[in-house]
Every structure is written in C-alpha cells, then in structure tokens.
C-alpha cells in the first residue's frame, strides 16, 4: 500500500490517547497481542490511532514499544476509512453501529451528503440513499448498553434501523429491559408492539410505559428474569391485541374446565382461523385406553362442545 510509510517501533507514550475520533470498531479482543494491527497517523508531536485502540486499554507500560503501521499525515479521510475498514473486514463484517460511526465521522469532518453517498457508501456496502445518513447518525445516540446488547445478539441492520425509525432511541425503560437479557426475537416483538400501540392509541412512549407499570415489573428483583420477561410480554400482547386477548381468555377459561390427563394434549388454532380442536393422546398401556374412554364422558363431551363453540 503506497499510503504507508515504513513500519515503526513506537512507545505507548507517543500515542495521543485523547484523540478518539477513529475509535469506531467494537472490540472483539480480550486484550492486545503484539501481532495485532495498529495503524497510526503522525499529527506532529504525537501519533493518532486510526486502528487498534485495544492497545490503550491493555495496561501497558508507557515505555512499552510496539510495531505500528503509519499512514501519511496528508491522507484524505476517505482513503483512511477504506484502509481501516478493509483491515477490519478481514476479521468480520461491520456492525451497524460501526457503519453509523463512520458516517458520523464523515459528516463531522465536513463532507457533504452527496460526497458521503458517492465516496463512503460503496465502502460500507450501502445503497446510495441519502436518507440513510440521517438514520445512521441517529443510531449514534443509542445507549452503550443497547449497543452492547444488539451487537452481542448479532441483531440484523433492520432491527437497528427499526429502533431509529420508530423513535425508540434513548429510552431508559428499554435499557432496563435488556438487562434481563431477552432473546432478540422477543425484543423485536416487544419494540414493534410498543411502537404500534403508541401509534394506534396516539400515546407518548413514556406515558405508555407508565400505564403498563413497566418499571415495576422489570425491576422486581424477587422474580426470575425469564418470569419478568414473560410478564412484560404478556401485558404487551394484551395491550396490542385487546379484543383477541379477551377472546383467548374466554377460550382458556373453558379449557381449564376440561380435566385433561397428563398423557393427553389439547390444541387449537391460536389465530382462530380454524374452528377445531386437536387432541393428542399417548397410549402406552390398556389402562391408558380405559382412561381415555372414561375421559369422554357426557360432561366432558358437553364441555368440549362449549369449547368448540367458543373458538
């Protein structure tokens, strides 16, 4: 690469640890290793890190000397980005937050939207849509805990952008919720439902969380995390689908009155498109057959008819 001057051997104290402009990439490493790439740029008296910020958190002595690749001080931003993104892509693809940071950096350096679309988007594998600039810049404002959660769960870019488009950024209630470590699909289901409820009821999100007694459930330390997640999910589903939930409750009420033995399961179509009951029975012994026969007495048949009618 012509952009590089010859490799240098530098010490930690020669790095400007306050210049974090290029601190773009989430750290994957457990610590610095001498074989890790460190790319720097000479700024005069000190060097700016462009890639390899792990070296700053490695608790190395100030005089510790390490090999670094140094980029020309006059190199344009776009070329710097091209280099460090290429190096990063040798390990893994970019997280959406990293794409966001790159776009943010380009904006802050004074690049026009047209130039960003022309020169930076192709590097980031983005379609040339200027509207994405605003979307990704908003992504920067996600809380650290949310960024950590979404990157740990390998959330697809659509999930990140949905939070942006739905105004679900900077919501403390959601930051509290992710501390319970819900699965990504539950998180997506809940955030989608929150957005849809707030639109349908024309209610602000903070008022919605309050009306759901959200914090009261999320912070109930005497309940297991998965129980708290389930309760949150239940109240969201009820609020999102009130009529359907009421109908389901009616069905559940009737179902509870049908004394199914342990080796039997009763299913029905949860969408209610089909008005049918499925009963699955495991029969191991003649006694199981006798019990099944006894189950279908007049009273049970009556209750099953009520159930079918209720569906």
């Amino acid at each position: 690469m012509n952009s590089f001057k010859k490799p240098l051997l530098l010490s930690i104290k020669q790095i400007d640890s306050t210049d974090l402009r290029f601190n773009i990439f989430e750290s994957d490493l457990t610590g610095y290793h001498f074989a890790d790439s460190v790319i720097l740029q000479n700024t005069g008296r000190v060097y700016r890190i462009l890639y390899g910020f792990e070296i700053l958190t490695a608790n190395l002595e100030p005089d510790y000397r390490f090999p670094a690749l140094c980029l020309s001080e006059k190199l344009p931003l776009v070329e710097i980005l091209e280099i460090i993104v290429t190096v990063q892509r040798r390990k893994r693809e970019l997280f959406p937050i990293e794409t966001a940071r790159i776009i943010h950096l380009a904006c802050q350096s004074g690049m026009s939207d047209d130039d960003i679309v022309d020169q930076v988007f192709s590097l980031l594998h983005l379609k040339p849509d200027p509207a994405l600039i605003a979307d990704y810049r908003q992504m920067i404002t996600l809380s650290k805990s949310m960024v950590r959660y979404l990157t740990d769960k390998h959330a697809p870019v659509k999930t990140w952008l949905n939070l942006v488009h739905r105004g679900l950024i900077g919501i403390p209630a959601l930051d509290k919720f992710i501390q319970l470590n819900p699965t990504l699909s539950i998180f997506e289901e809940i955030t989608t439902s929150l957005f849809e409820i707030s639109k349908r009821e024309s209610i602000r999100l903070d008022s919605l969380f309050e009306s759901l007694h959200w914090n009261g459930i999320v912070e109930k330390a005497d309940l297991e995390e998965k129980v708290r997640i389930r309760r949150i999910r239940d109240i969201i589903i009820q609020r999102r689908f009130p009529k359907l939930s009421a109908h389901r409750e009616q069905v559940e009420k009737v179902l509870k009155q049908i004394p199914l033995p342990e080796n039997a399961k009763l299913n029905f179509d949860e969408t209610f498109e089909k008005k049918e009951i499925q009963i699955n029975w495991r029969l191991h012994t003649p006694a199981d057959i006798e019990r099944m026969h006894a189950f279908f007495n007049d009273e049970t048949v009556r209750r099953l008819k009520i159930l079918l009618n209720t569906l």
Partner: protein
C-alpha cells in the same frame, strides 16, 4: 405510432412530455409510476382468471381483463403498491386484439356464464385511456350472450356511458366505505355521495349495479358508520337492480405493512389487531371480523328481495357462520352467481345454468 387509440389518448395531453421508447427500453425507476403513462401493446394474454388467494379461502372464479395496470388514486391499503412492480401505469391500446382474445376464449365455454372485470389491476374508469376501452367493451359485451362486463371504480366518472347500448350486459360497480374511511384511507377518490350519485344515474340508464364493501375496516363506531352507508346505498339504487354485493375485510401481505407505515404515516391500518391467515395474508382474526360481517350482512338483507351477497377471499367457516351455508368449492360459488343472475334477471342468461358447466372451474386464460 400508427395507432389511432394511442394518438387519440395522447391528444388529450398536448403539454405533457411524450416520448416514444423501444419495446425493451427501461423506464427510470426513480419516477413515480402514477405519473408515467406507458401506452403500449400487449405481448401475451390479457384475459385471465383473477389471481385470488390460497386454496383455504373461497374464490369466485372471476375473470379479468388487465388492459390497465396501475391507478392514479392513493388508497393506503391498496395491494397494487406491492403486487405491481412496474415503473409506469401501463395501458394496452391494442383493443381489437384484446377483444379478439376475449371472444375466442368465451367461445370455448359457451354454456358457462362469466363475470369479467377490468378493475383488478387498476380502476376501470379513472383514466381516460381506461374509459375509452370501457366504452368499446360495453358495446362488445352487449352482443356476448354468456358474459357480464364489470367496470369497478372509486370515481364518479360516467362520461357518455349513459347513452351507450349495453343491453344489460354491463355491471357498473363501486367500492363503498364510510366517509371517515374514504377521507383517511382512500385518497384522491370520489366522495361517497359522488359514487352513489353516479351509481344512481347508471341504474336509471338501465345498467346493472354492483357494490363492493371491501375492505371493511374495524374502526370505532363501525356499526353505525356502515349502517349509514348501506341506508344511503339503497336510497340511490334499488336492491332489484343490484347484481351482487361483495364483502371483504381488510387484508394484505405482511410485507406491505412497513410500506404502508412509511408511505402513509397517518393511517391506523398497520396497527389493527390482525393475524396471519391461512393464505399468509394479515387479516382481522375471525372472532373480530365475523361480527362485522354478521352485522353488515343482516343490514344488507333486511330489504325485500335483497341482492346476491358473497364474501371475497373468505373461509368456508365464515360463510357458514354468517349465511348458514358455504359453497362447496370455487366452482360452486361461480355457479351460485350464475343461478342468482338467472333468477333475478330473467332473459340475461339464455338457459338455466347447470353445475356441470362450472365444475371444471377452468379460467378463461
């Protein structure tokens, strides 16, 4: 450009930019397809069976003529914005070819009575180009013994149709919804009173009339809103002149939801209580839509000699719950239409329809 139909259509827009492009040229996809009119000739079949939906729901074996593809209006729920992936509104100007195709196909099933519409992939009357086709189609169908033409619209455009010789073989149809829904979700369409006034005029001119309550929407106070529409409808058109009324609640593919949110942020449609039906489309759950159907159906049939009422893309279970019986198949539903028309409009069908001629259920296309 030696096409008189094309020249005639273009003459109405002398100030618009007109370009002749080769057959295989591409149109800039960044432009709004509702503002680009592509006049061209059809390459393949234009007369086909309605696509319908999954087999778990009943369809009526309706036939369509896709002469116009695209619509200038903006209904938030319109499936065309998902289904039609083309950069322009397309109008086929080779009318004679289309009518030849139609007549040849109808000849193959002479004993079967067909319902054929032009409003499947667009509005039958919204565009001048569509109305030109409709005008000719009305006069052609006047002499076709085994078919009815349906022109379905959300406009109040009648032009000079009132003077045409339709011979009772054209059904003028309007989609209906409460005013509140039209205002919110049927943008750039005619108002309810305009549509009903047009229907009244068409009825006076002897046309058969049809109405489509589709999509029926679960909005606050829906009972009184739909009751009002039905009352007004019957004030403008007598039940005896209505060939059929269809009922269908809101439904759309799940992938359309985000598009609706993006394109129409004011509408509440994407946030309704919907489930994924057996055909994969989002619909109101049956316990929610059944009461709506029940109410509207009872209101519609509360008049003497009510029209033939059917459900569009609905499960046999809904038919059973609301009407008390379900067609055995799509072919049977098609036959039920013919039977109703035979009894309610004497002389329309030359002979009594027999189920056997509908059992094959073969589309025209």
């Amino acid at each position: 450009m030696d096409d008189p139909v094309t020249e005639s259509i273009l003459s109405k827009f002398p100030r618009r930019i007109q370009k002749i492009i080769p057959d295989n040229a591409s149109i800039d996809e960044d432009l709004d397809p509702k503002r680009i009119l592509l006049l061209t000739r059809s390459q393949g079949e234009v007369v086909k069976g309605c696509p319908g939906t999954g087999e778990q729901y009943l369809c009526c074996n309706y036939q369509v003529i896709n002469q116009t593809q695209g619509c200038p209006m903006n209904c938030t729920y319109c499936i065309l914005q998902f289904y039609l992936n083309q950069p322009a509104t397309i109008v086929y100007t080779n009318f004679n070819d289309i009518f030849t195709e139609l007549k040849e196909k109808l000849k193959l099933q002479r004993k079967r009575f067909f319902r054929i519409g032009t409003g499947e992939l667009g509005d039958s009357l919204a565009l001048d180009a569509s109305r030109r086709f409709a005008r000719q189609a009305i006069e052609i169908f006047a002499h076709i013994p085994n078919a009815l033409l349906e022109l379905k619209s959300k406009t109040a455009e009648l032009g000079d149709f009132l003077d045409l010789n339709h011979n009772g073989h054209t059904v003028m149809a309007w989609s209906l919804n409460p005013r509140e829904i039209i205002q919110q979700d049927e943008l750039k369409t005619a108002q309810l009173n305009q549509r009903l006034a047009a229907a009244g005029k068409a009825a006076e001119a002897g046309y058969k009339i049809a109405f489509h309550f589709d999509p029926i929407m679960d909005v606050p106070d829906w009972e009184s809103l739909y009751a009002e529409v039905i009352d007004e409808m019957y004030l403008h058109v007598a039940p005896a002149q209505i060939a059929w009324i269809s009922l269908g609640t809101l439904r759309f593919p799940p992938s359309m939801k985000d598009k609706i949110i993006e394109r129409y942020p004011h509408t509440g449609i994407p946030f309704a209580e919907m489930i994924r039906g057996m055909d994969g489309k989002l619909r109101y759950a049956r316990p929610l839509r059944s009461p709506m159907y029940q109410y509207i159906y009872q209101k519609l049939t509360s008049v003497p000699q009510p029209p033939f009422i059917y459900f569009c893309m609905e499960s046999p279970l809904i038919w059973q719950e609301i009407i008390g019986r379900a067609p055995e198949s799509n072919a049977h539903l098609d036959f039920m239409f013919a039977e109703s028309l035979f009894h309610r409009f004497p002389g329309l069908l030359s002979e009594k329809p027999e189920p056997i001629h509908y059992d094959n259920g073969k589309p025209l296309g």
